[in-house]
């Protein structure tokens, strides 16, 4: 009986958009779509819930403020911030070139730049090792100059930048393509040199996408594990970021690992919320 009532209620919601008068009435979706959506949502929410249930909340504060946890958290925040800055500085020009320049091999360049999105991070870490490692392509030259990159904090930043850069490039390039070139053309015919067009027309139009791209980069950098472990190792206080700390603690002190995981989940939720609130206001540069 209750089951049937629930079904009826669901079909009312599905079919008539809640039934409140005066609201637009969408065509509605078949019920099986809702079933699929529910299963999909559960697959993501349930594991998080399971972990929350296993969290030792009474000991939460001491667990996440232990010296090793704080060191890992501090290192994570510092390196993620540094690699986000690098992503913006390198990714914005890259996106501009991919969206606006025309030369042979541009498509290939685009495919290569976006490779880290689909590459297993461990593979990325190995590639970095053979570039900047002690015997790597560039590493030997650095070594002669007295700079060792592999297994240092700089390596953590490089690894995070490597995996996060495509997020910024994608976000900014998409915005550039959507905006088109007509504003830039108008600016040029008004006498604005390319530098002025970039500074006064293109970049202001890109601000919303730059903001969301930056947030996504930071999130990706914060969660980086595979490339960091391979290229930078897991040296406490130097290269052991929060995800690495969690992985280690999982073996020895599951309670601490769970508490730190919840800390990352919380951070991720805040980041996602920030990103969505940006993208939900497409006219943020318009009338106030």
């Amino acid at each position: 009986m209750t089951n049937r009532d629930a079904m009826a209620a669901a079909s009312r919601v599905a079919g008539r958009g809640g039934g409140r008068s005066g609201r637009s009435a969408p065509v509605g979706l078949p019920l099986w779509v809702f079933a699929g959506a529910l299963a999909g949502a559960l697959l993501i929410v349930l594991p998080l819930l399971a972990m929350a249930l296993r969290t030792n909340w009474s000991g939460f504060l001491p667990l996440v403020t232990s010296s090793s946890a704080l060191a890992a958290l501090g290192l994570s925040l510092r390196t993620a911030a540094a690699s986000t800055v690098l992503c913006v500085l390198l990714g914005t020009p890259l996106a501009l070139v991919l969206a606006r320049a025309r030369f042979r091999g541009l498509k290939l360049l685009r495919a290569l730049v976006l490779l880290p999105l689909v590459l297993p991070p461990v593979v990325g870490g190995m590639a970095l090792l053979y570039t900047f490692g002690r015997r790597g392509l560039l590493g030997e030259a650095f070594e002669v100059a007295g700079i060792g990159i592999a297994f240092s904090t700089a390596a953590v930043v490089l690894a995070q930048t490597f995996v996060a850069l495509p997020f910024l490039v994608l976000s900014v390039e998409a915005a550039l393509r959507t905006a088109g070139t007509k504003f830039e053309t108008a600016a040029a015919t008004l006498g604005a040199a390319p530098g002025t067009v970039l500074r006064r027309v293109t970049l202001p139009l890109l601000l919303p996408s730059l903001a969301s791209g930056t947030i996504l980069c930071f999130a990706r950098a914060l969660g980086e594990f595979g490339a960091t472990l391979t290229f930078a190792g897991s040296l406490a206080g130097v290269t052991r970021t929060l995800p690495l700390e969690i992985y280690l603690q999982h073996e020895t002190d599951p309670d601490a690992a769970i508490a730190l995981s919840m800390l990352l989940v919380g951070t991720a939720v805040v980041i996602v919320a920030l990103t969505y609130s940006r993208t939900a206001r497409p006219g943020s540069g318009g009338a106030t």
């Binding site: 053309t185 040029a188 008004l190 390319p194 139009l205």
Partner: protein
């Protein structure tokens, strides 16, 4: 001090010579795809020509081995869309040109206020572009283009996207600010040509088909495009004794002779056109006898209501009849009819402009 362009653009089939005198406004007209916007693109530096050169006040814009980027050309382009920069206020938008050319902030703003006033939009100075109506935005765009102090102003259908109620007001303002200014305006609208331009150039398939003052073109159209604007029937062919022998592209059976009044300087065999008003055409369903007129057998394509009468279209010709006559004759698309027009109503004149 003049502007001239002589250029070709192969993939759009464009091959054009055009020159503007100091202070002259030229309207560029023609069917869709005739290449009008490509001409503006070439002049503004948004398209590269395959051949030719353009010179503005002695400065080459482009030519063999030469290329001036758009921002150095002093050619402002105003399009159908206002394209105001959304993050800048109206005043900052108009000040954009002067600022980009190195003016100080205060000088640029003063110049912006001046042009906003000229465009009758001074009260909008502090607004954001997103809060403007289409007509207001276009006023600001016009002020912005003028504030850049271009040596040549290009307008690409500046009124086409506006409400019919707003366009006449903006057109009047444009007429005032364009007076004595060197400009090229691409338009479909006869009113733009009449009110804004000193000279009309008609493009057909990327080439200049016809040019002259709006009055000349409307009085004596030489292309089907201008004949359409002027609302006249036009038959092309060659001058013969007493009138015109219709040519192959006239839509009439080749060799048909149209009797008409010949212009004085016309020689036999010279390419010519015959023009007459749709109102001068009488329509019959059987061949009329015993009158000294041209009788053309046609198949009716369409009947169109037109203020107070009915326009009977047949091929490239049109006749104007009263609604009562149309009903009485039982005209219908696909039916045969005879168009009759007195020789005295037909003017025959050279197909090419003298000189």
């Amino acid at each position: 001090m003049t502007f001239s362009i002589d250029a070709g653009l192969e993939d759009r089939g464009l091959e054009l010579q055009l020159a503007l005198r100091e202070g002259e406004t030229v309207a560029l007209m023609g069917e869709n795809g005739a290449g009008k916007s490509s001409v503006l693109g070439l002049i503004a530096g948004l398209l590269r020509a395959d051949r030719g050169e353009a010179v503005l006040d002695g400065r080459p814009l482009f030519g063999p081995g030469q290329w001036l980027p758009p921002h150095q050309r002093s050619v402002a382009l105003l399009s159908q869309e206002a394209l105001l920069f959304p993050q800048l206020s109206v005043l900052e938008n108009v000040a954009f040109g002067p600022r980009s050319q190195g003016k100080s902030r205060s000088a640029a703003r003063a110049q912006a206020r001046h042009w906003l006033t000229e465009a009758e939009a001074a009260d909008l100075a502090d607004r954001r572009p997103a809060s403007l109506s289409g007509g207001q935005a276009q006023r600001v765009a016009i002020a912005r283009a003028l504030a850049a102090d271009p040596a040549l102003l290009l307008l690409d259908e500046p009124l086409a996207a506006l409400d019919v109620a707003v366009a006449p007001v903006i057109r009047r303002m444009l007429r005032r600010v364009l007076a004595g200014r060197r400009a090229v305006i691409v338009t479909h609208d006869l009113l733009d040509a009449l009110l804004l331009a000193d000279r009309v150039v008609v493009l057909d398939n990327g080439r200049v088909a016809e040019e002259g003052t709006p009055q000349q073109l409307l009085a004596r159209p030489r292309s089907s495009f201008t004949a359409g604007l002027a609302g006249l029937n036009l038959i092309s062919g060659h001058a013969v004794e007493g009138g015109l022998r219709a040519g192959e592209r006239s839509g009439l059976p080749a060799g048909t002779v149209v009797a008409g009044t010949r212009a004085g300087q016309l020689l036999d065999g010279e390419p010519a056109v015959a023009a007459f008003r749709p109102a001068a055409v009488s329509v019959f369903t059987s061949h009329p006898h015993g009158s000294p007129r041209n009788v053309l057998e046609v198949i009716v394509d369409e009947l169109e209501p037109a203020s107070g009468h009915v326009l009977v279209r047949a091929g490239q010709l049109a006749a104007e009849v009263t609604p009562a006559a149309a009903a009485e004759l039982g005209l219908h698309p696909g039916g045969a009819a005879f168009f009759a027009v007195k020789a005295s109503e037909v003017s025959v004149y050279p197909a090419r402009t003298a000189g």
